[in-house]
Amino acid sequence: MAIETSPQGVLALIAVMTVVTLITRFGGVFVMSFVRINPRIESFINTMASSVLIAIIVPMAFSGDLGAVAALVATAAAMLAFQKPLPAIAAGLLAAALVRYLV
């Protein structure tokens, strides 16, 4: 099934995207409201939460160019050295820009 991109069609498509995205925003919390939280479940969701970050970053590094890798390495180094997020992110962007300019 397909929707034509007429003015009404586009509105329908945007509505579909909005509903699907809302389901993802609400769904996890909705399901959890039926789960009894015990220490084991809490340990699962806490570990999962920090793993979300890694699962976003690592494939990004592997699929990205040299600039992407440089950005992540610089951010990690600055973060471990100074523990300040904004300077670390700035260092990352600078590294990406520099590598892409040079390579």
Binding site: A2, I3, T5, P7, V10, L11, I14, A15, V16, M17, V20, T21, L22, T24, R25, F26, G27, G28, V29, M32, S33, I37, N38, P39, I41, E42, S43, F44, I45, N46, T47, M48, A49, S50, S51, V52, L53, I54, A55, I57, V58, P59, M60, S63, A68, A71, L72, T75, A76, M79, Q83, P85, A88, I89, G92, L93, A95, A96, A97, R100
Partner: protein, 248 residues
């Protein structure tokens, strides 16, 4: 057990301080929004349609993917599949906030989730790992990010990309660097490092061999399983199970 009490104390002043805390990162979101606005009109959306999409969907990566499959007509199933797959990380992000969200009345709980996105979630999750409860950043931070996304989209559709090539300034890496800074700012224990290794391997395997856009969910759940099997001493001892605490 009284299940009908909602003890989370919402501080409206903190909402504003979190709004300003995420203001710097939202400047980058404006640049991304402009890139999206430009892509959207190039694929044939009108300016108003593009702005409407950013306002109601508010999920950048999935919007880029959607306008990528735009044409004279758009097939529903592939659109639903790609939007759901890319945004499925919200399911886990929301679930991870549940220990705090269950202390908020349901109406407010779901209203707050309207503004859930990567950056404000990452801050809230990191604060929670460090023992601070912060749902205010979901609201305040979410608001500034949402406004930035809409404003950026509007700039993009009316003025074209603000920058000829955002990649040359490393702007495509903002989210990745932000996520990494958040991850490294959290507490690191051997348990967390094992979970991260498992998440890294699983997400890479999923990225390589599974259908596109499933790697985040697969990697995160794989990492979570480490926590399911290997509990941290604090969460174990905060429960009723004394033996686990003693055994440690």
């Amino acid at each position: 057990m009284s299940t009908l009490s909602y003890p989370y104390q919402f501080e409206s002043r903190k909402v504003w301080s979190e709004f300003f805390r995420l203001f710097p990162i939202s400047l980058f979101v404006v640049a991304f929004g402009a890139a999206f606005g430009l892509a959207a009109i190039q694929e044939g959306l009108t300016p108003l349609q593009s702005i409407l999409m950013s306002t109601t969907v508010f999920a950048g990566a999935s919007q880029f993917a959607a306008v990528d499959i735009w044409g004279a007509e758009v097939s529903i199933l592939p659109l639903v599949a790609v939007v759901f797959a890319i945004n499925s990380r919200h399911l886990l992000m929301g679930a991870s906030l549940y220990p705090m969200l269950r202390e908020v009345p349901p109406g407010r709980r779901y209203a707050l989730l309207l503004l859930l996105t990567d950056a404000n979630w990452a801050v809230s999750a990191q604060d929670y790992q460090n023992g601070r409860r912060n749902l205010e950043v979901i609201v305040g931070g979410g608001l500034v990010l949402w406004l930035a996304w809409i404003i950026g989209t509007a700039l993009g559709v009316y003025f074209g990309g603000l920058l000829q090539n955002p990649k040359a300034f490393g702007l495509d890496m903002v989210l990745g660097c932000f996520m990494l800074a958040m991850a490294l700012g959290g507490r690191k224990s051997p348990r967390v490092l094992v979970a991260w290794s498992v998440a890294a391997v699983a997400s890479l395997a999923a990225w390589k061999w599974l259908p596109p856009n499933m790697h985040v969910v697969v990697g995160a759940i794989a990492g979570g399983l480490v926590g399911l099997i290997w509990q941290s001493p604090e969460t174990a001892s905060s429960g009723a199970d004394e033996e686990v605490a003693d055994g440690h």
